[in-house]
Symmetry: D2
Subunit: 356 residues, 4 copies
């Protein structure tokens, strides 16, 4: 439990933000797959920190070292283990957090859960840094999915109230997903980029942060994938997505909007397109009864603003049990949304590979 996921391809994540290293074991990868390490590195670079004004100043190369599971670059059927060094941790920034839990961060909950023995440095095992190994495993899973014609792509749907376009739920295709995903700042409509960046910069200058929404689409999934009830596509993707820190909501298809529609407005008629059964509209987001319908799978997730802000906040001193003002030091992202985009793609790949 906890840091493990999957039945066919099972991952087990380890590490803390400031431990010697972090990493992942991926058990169940078939033998005989030539891993495209360049592609994996490029994917991981999309999440890596320290590259621009809107991400933390912590610099980590995030180069995975594969310790097992391959022979001459080809998977051998043994569990794949990749380790990523932690090299730029500043543990002393966190000394006072041992007694002063950061508002809306995991510190207090982790303190209670682990009787005060939790690793507070950088958020420990709850850190966003733990998504780096998820991105490694996700990149491996995506390579396998892409060989089956399945493509996953996500973009920033909204940051600080400024909206990008949404995917066309019927016509979104692999080329668009590839194109959007490869952008440094993944938007469908690049014209909103400057406005978003200025919102983030304004928050940063205020010692504050902003949240947003990410939209993800999957094309190429055949109809009939998923299990009813507890292992439907929605169940498995949502379970995986909430592994990413700061995610507070998920909706499939037209999601919460469907609540205001009538059945006759929300239902998607079946039609024949190019000799195959598809649907005229895709309010259902590619999933019916938990099972894929062959339409693109579409979902959106809400990302809360980074809880680590430098503005003074109120908290409780765990030793003295008195209220105290806290000013968080350390290096933090004024907006986590852009770096969360590949993470959402990665866990989606890890969820789907278990249903295929």
């Amino acid at each position: 439990m906890s840091c493990s996921f999957g039945e066919k391809i099972k991952i087990s994540v380890f590490g803390q933000s400031h431990s010697e290293a972090i990493g992942i074991v991926v058990d169940g990868i078939p033998a005989g797959i030539k891993l495209d390490m360049d592609k994996i590195s490029r994917f991981m670079a999309r999440r890596a920190p320290g590259k621009n004004a809107y991400s933390t100043k912590r610099k980590e190369a995030d180069i995975p070292t594969i310790i097992s599971g391959i022979v001459d670059g080809i998977t051998c059927g043994a569990p794949l283990c990749a380790v990523i060094k932690n090299s730029d941790q500043h543990s002393k920034d966190y000394s006072k957090l041992k007694t002063l839990p950061r508002p809306s961060h995991s510190d207090f909950a982790a303190y209670v859960k682990h009787n005060g023995f939790n690793d507070i440095r950088g958020g420990g095992n709850f850190s966003g840094r733990m998504t780096a190994p998820l991105c490694f495993a996700g990149a491996v899973a995506m390579q396998i999915l892409e060989e089956k014609g399945i493509r996953i792509g996500a973009h920033i749907e909204k940051i600080a109230g400024v909206k990008d376009s949404r995917f066309d739920p019927v016509n979104v295709n692999a080329d668009l997903l590839k194109d959007v995903s490869s952008k440094e700042f993944p938007l469908i409509d690049d014209s909103v980029k400057e406005k978003i960046l200025s919102k983030i910069e304004a928050a940063r200058l205020d010692g504050d942060s902003v949240g947003g929404v990410i939209e993800c689409a999957v094309t190429g999934l055949p109809a009939g994938l998923g299990e009813p009830m507890f292992d439907g596509v929605e169940n498995v993707i949502s379970r995986a997505v909430f592994a990413i820190p700061a995610i507070k909501g998920i909706e499939f298809g037209n999601g919460f909007d469907c609540a205001d529609l009538r059945g006759s407005e929300n239902n998607d008629d079946f039609i024949i397109t190019d000799g195959k059964i598809t649907a005229k509209t895709n309010n259902h987001g590619g999933i019916l009864g938990g099972i894929t319908s062959s339409m693109p799978v579409i979902f959106r997730v809400a990302v809360k603003p980074t809880p680590s802000i430098s503005k003074p906040q109120m908290t409780v001193n765990l030793e003295t049990m008195t209220q105290e003002e806290l000013v968080i030091e350390g290096r933090h992202d004024p907006c986590i949304v852009p770096r969360a985009v590949p993470c959402i793609e990665a866990v989606t790949a890890l969820a789907l590979i278990n249903l295929i």
Copy 2:
């Protein structure tokens, strides 16, 4: 997988809408618990069909027969198995659906998944009827949780665009949850009831349906429950909630609204209340880093309008592969939201009992 859920208390659901019976095995219930069968029956009655204008006309008493797991009304440590007879099924209504999948229903996806051998009658294993055994197991789980001071309650937050009040995320308490849950039409603010009922009736008269939103709260959870990453409270509840047909979204705390806030607005300061650490606000919905914070857990789910409507719709004939108009016969709920309220409570109980 599929119809099973849970590690400590594991459920296994069986049955189809028109099979001889439906039921559930609950493995892991501790020995020595005196089951309050009256309370279980009252809980299941909240979901049972055929009681009013806004639910299906199918009449099912939904009386569970316990076949194993108890001796003289007390659990004996063996798996608890309860069976519920199907008695009012009209299978002939479904004969034409074998070739004409209903739009936005599971029929087509199930047909592909099971190579045409799926039980189409009443939606088979994908039917909303499968939530009856979930409510049985949920009622048992709730009894155990309530003995630990944990109370779950949900209400209709919105139907057809008409809104109820929301729970106060800081002050919601067990008495309110008990009060709201016991209403036949569970609203916080009963003054909106007539308006909602008239919207449902209007849809029914049009041969149409309406959707809505359900809000659920849990009080009495101590801080420190849940596991990081894949078995956090959000992961487990969301996986469970998508087992209920027609759910298309879930959000915790202020959910999608948090995306538009700054960190300084969204963060919940820690304070001391009655000598205990709590938070001044509860935008985080009682969950930080996947772990309970001791604040009430709050979440909302989107319920799509019932896809089974009697208005003519377009579909594809699976035999002739031509488009065809479909008029669905049978007895359907013009609004599934009220009956889904106890189902949401039930799966929440089944999720939480595995984290305690």
Copy 3:
């Protein structure tokens, strides 16, 4: 846990010896399989009690009623649930056992585990009767395996010191397995039957019981099945086999005898037979590194003598905490070995179906 098994095809057993009924849910059976109910019934009859002098006098027809998972006799992809009525239980025979645990029976361990709330009647959930639903599920699994050319068969290798022949580990084949399995008293060499029966009868007349060894073989398994380490064929079969009450040991291939051999004697040279790679001998019992080698899988299990004997025995009164003589009433098998033979085949089928 406990009464559940399997990942691809997951079973969940329920019931107690004297509950209203016992049964099983089988989740994951593919849709479209026409169940051969006659064959399933014949298989279950091999285990059914009350048929001869060496089994309990309790008479149970053991007719499974399928409540879900089939439409017109064909699996529909929904979980298969079968229920078997308990009809001939004599619960009053067990009243005194509530305080007087039977030596070498589960009574005392179950009493401690369940704080005295365990169902003592007939052994409750620990009863050998719980193997009836396992045989149902095993028969279904065997039907699927047989369609893939895989055949499972077991025989009495020894009872009360009297030995049958063993399977030829290289040349055992499906015809022999079918032939032996279909015997009422499954021996390879029928000439020892009378001697064994007289040993059992002698024990029965003494109010005593006898144990034995069962040998099981599986033919038609391709090479390459099983996972390394914890999900090898030996791991999975042994975990399954110890679900049968009274089993106290298992050995694969030449088993404990290999301990006395040198590598050069125990190793099985690879050879080519009919253009395929096989082994000249089969000391390894068809499993190397946990993975099938394409040779027949062979294993033997030790069955202890039925602990329920009518001879006076010493036990401790749980209420008074004094030692007390116990004379067990009720109807018991003087030798459980013959009825355990199909049970071993059944759990082997359930184990293997998860590896294919």
Copy 4:
């Protein structure tokens, strides 16, 4: 599956005999445990190779590096990951094995399973070397068990036909287990040591190997542990034990001998000892109905002679599909039994910690 085990404390093993390193993730260890690294190292040294005439000449220090899960030597609740370098691998010794599978080794089965992509060097993921990380995790589990008064110890019961004494199944205690386990050559009766060593040396000089039996006992287990059916103590221990390469059989209590006894001889009367309920004898090996009885748990496992021998053997060339003589090079244990003793203790600890 495959290289993962456990529900409460879940391990995930990675590595191959000749990969850069091998290691293990242990997820679920409670926070706040001070790891006794000296004790862990001493335990691992019992398994480490290269120390004497009867083990392989491969020299590995087997020092585990802990990469995550601890802060200042104390567990922090995050998964514990330990990595062990491979430093003395001689991969070229294995070049010819790619086409010439060693008799009674996993090579052929792994080749088929992984379509020829398996890592053949040193047996890859199937190597006995993979028991090093198991010993690390087992040592951690033993530390936790010992704090609860539970002690595990094993000894060589037999090698090459020469027998040690057996544990007294009623009176075996923690002191004896500690004493036996700490011996370099773990025997109860040291007087047979020279005879055994000479048998091993004789085999070694012949380019051959010998097998044996290991007996393991666990004291201090309270009554009532284990689950019925598939998660009983026998099920879980046997599943774990077959993860150790070369194990071909397991028996609990008097095991296969019980098959020749009558119930009246095999049953263990309950008695009162020091005010507590125990049994007069312990033929049941401390387990009744899969549940602990409070008597010592006793079991024995059969260890086959090391299949890697330097005597010429017959095999099949996988490329040419012709029979060919094989002389195995590389460094191999003439007897694996002594080094397997701590491995059996380790997996027993990993099995039991999931039942507590």
